[in-house]
């Protein structure tokens, strides 16, 4: 073997082995279990073929969780990208105490999702309701998270509040790659702010737009912590996301194999959505 290649192998092979042992192998095991009726413990289980997959398609709770998760993910992805792009442009402008504000806006990303969730949970139930009562606003005087119709809005608020920070940083990085001379030139040509944005800023940060869309979508499809901290999937199953269903059904419900089948489908779906998004958005990048 070429001696100069040795360090490269030493660095990559352990990573590959670790990746295989801790990620690939369990994933394959999950696929294997999805064809059994194992409850997660116990000594024996039988092979039942595709029965779990058939049952999945008959299960209204599964359909409900997929519907909720996709609805949630689309709303959150759009809101996060609009807001973080606006904030990034604000923070990129020549304002006072710019670095201070950049720090402040990044703060939500540093806090643990679970802690943020519990804080908001308290706010929703014991603080906002009191404001609502004092101000005489009907919809604010009961807990938003306690209503089957509206609980998802509460989760969207928290997810967006926290998710914006990370995407803002990516957009900021993107905005700084645009040379200032372009704006000077457009100023001389008399371009309006609006034209400036659509003709210069947006096309030039297109790759960042792509990656932000994909990341935000993927993260919100995998939403779990916020749900646990805010509603635990309730009221009823109104805010049960797919990962929450897999966790509660698989472990609390003792239906490990059944939810393994669900996670196989879930994995395929997330991979498909991400790939489709990247393809579509990158083609758009090239066109711009």
């Amino acid at each position: 073997m070429n001696k100069r290649l040795m360090p490269y192998y030493l660095m990559t092979v352990p990573a590959v082995v670790l990746f295989f042992i801790f990620l690939t192998l369990p994933a394959l095991q999950g696929v294997y279990y999805s064809f059994t009726n194992w409850n997660g413990f116990g000594d024996h289980y039988d092979f039942i073929g595709l029965k779990n997959y058939v049952n999945l398609f008959k299960d209204g709770n599964v359909g409900n969780a997929y519907w909720f998760t996709f609805k949630f993910a689309v709303v959150v992805t759009i809101l996060i990208n609009i807001l973080s792009l606006l904030i990034a442009m604000g923070l990129n402008a020549k304002i006072k105490a710019r670095n201070f504000f950049r720090g402040i806006y990044f703060l939500p990303n540093i806090l643990s999702v679970l802690i943020v969730g519990y804080i908001f949970n308290y706010l929703f139930s014991n603080v906002f309701t009191i404001w609502g009562q004092n101000l005489g606003i009907g919809w604010l005087s009961t807990n938003l998270l306690g209503s089957e119709q509206h609980a998802w809005i509460g989760i969207v608020i928290v997810a967006v509040w926290q998710g914006v920070a990370y995407n803002t940083i990516l957009y900021l990085a993107g905005l700084q790659t645009i040379p200032g001379t372009l704006y000077e030139a457009s100023n001389l040509d008399g371009a309006s702010r609006w034209q400036e944005f659509w003709k210069i800023t947006f096309p030039l940060i297109a790759p960042f737009f792509t990656i932000n869309m994909v990341l935000a979508m993927k993260n919100s499809l995998m939403v779990f912590d916020q749900i646990v901290a805010l509603t635990n999937g309730g009221p009823g199953r109104a805010t049960q996301s797919i990962s929450h269903l897999i966790y509660t059904g698989g472990f609390e419900g003792g239906e490990f194999a059944y939810q393994s089948a669900n996670s196989v489908i879930y994995f395929i779906l997330i991979a498909a959505v991400s790939i489709a998004q990247i393809r579509f958005l990158q083609r758009r990048e090239a066109e711009m």
């Binding site: 360090p7 030493l10 009726n37 409850n39 997660g40 413990f41 116990g42 000594d43 779990n52 049952n55 008959k58 299960d59 709770n61 929703f124 139930s125 014991n126 309701t129 005087s141 009961t142 807990n143 998270l145 306690g146 209503s147 089957e148 509603t231 635990n232 999937g233 309730g234 009221p235 009823g236 199953r237 109104a238 049960q240 966790y247 509660t248 059904g249 472990f251 609390e252 419900g253 003792g254 239906e255 490990f256 059944y258």
Partner: protein, 408 residues
Amino acid sequence: MKFGKGLAASVSILLICMLTACGGNDTSGRVQIEFFQNKPEAKGSFDALIQKFNESQSDITVVQVNPPDAETVLKTRVVKDDIPDIVGMGATDTYSLLAQSGIFMDMTGSPLLSRIDETYVQMLKDVSGMEEVIGIPYSTNANGVMYNKEIFSKLGLSVPRTWDELLATAKKAKDGGTIPFYFTYKDDWQTVLPFNALASNLEGIEFYLDRREGKVTFADRYREIAEKQLELMEYGHGDNFGKNYADGNRAFARGESAMYIQGTWAISEIRKANPEAPIGFFPLPTGDDPESNKLISGVDTLLAVAEDSKHKEEALRFIEFLLEPENSKQYISEQTLFSTVQGVTQDDPAVSELLPYLKRGQVVDFADHYIPAAVQLNSIIQSFLQNRDIDAYLKKLDTEWDKVADRR
């Protein structure tokens, strides 16, 4: 060779970590056994008992583990084959699943059982559907209506004995400007409490044995239960689905409501917020005949030993210690529960009205202990109480039950 040095260092750090984490014995040569239990309320009480035990022993150290959402954590640990030496949990459907999987030691014929009230040993057999006894019942609870004695005497209310009296009492409280019931239905498990009282009393546990064989359906037999639970909702506060268990305990401790449908396990939490809270307790009346109304009481904590534990004998010694009348008494007094140990009585005035029921054996187990966890009864009831559609609710119970049975 800088690279080699770094590698050696990291490998040795890894090894040290593995050795210390896996070692069952600590430095003093004592055997360390893990006691895993699911009640956050009881953490302090068990800590005190464990300390007493550890001091009395020279060769065993018991360590308590009490994570949030303990039942789920326990199941994930069972999946990883990492079962705690001793498990303390309620006699629920989870217990029944675990007992049937053979991960706990068979206690049938154990001398420890001779100290335990026979009723509760039988209850374990019923829940798991097995003839063997897998675990030792340790404490039992009761589920009913907690009431504020001061508010009751101020409004001239007396303890209701029938369903109609209960509603009349609630109405009087409402007219008197007090919240009748403080509902805490943001936590879905709270919605199950009235369900248990109504279902166990009106249809009984036999219903579930028949349901397993497909002889009956919820749609046929649970309408009255659904209607009555819905009727109670007329007497809540403005934000029934916005408050959780902790909010409820705080509010009831402050005297914000006349009644609170709850279990005895909450008393210790309420007293943390207000040690002087004037608490009384009565069984939820479900029908017209006070004589036939039963108190809902189940095994709050049972103690099971892992079949694979390397230290079974030591684990049993700790259980024996907990079962000593003095220690059992200490535990139930702090937690306002009832002891399964013969001769140990609960003297707390807050629950004195429940004692005659326990003495006469006028008790029945929680209905939800017989419903598979995968049905997710809690969220079904929570959803029903919001959309108030009785037909859809009963149908949902039936379809979910059948679906789960089909998948098992």
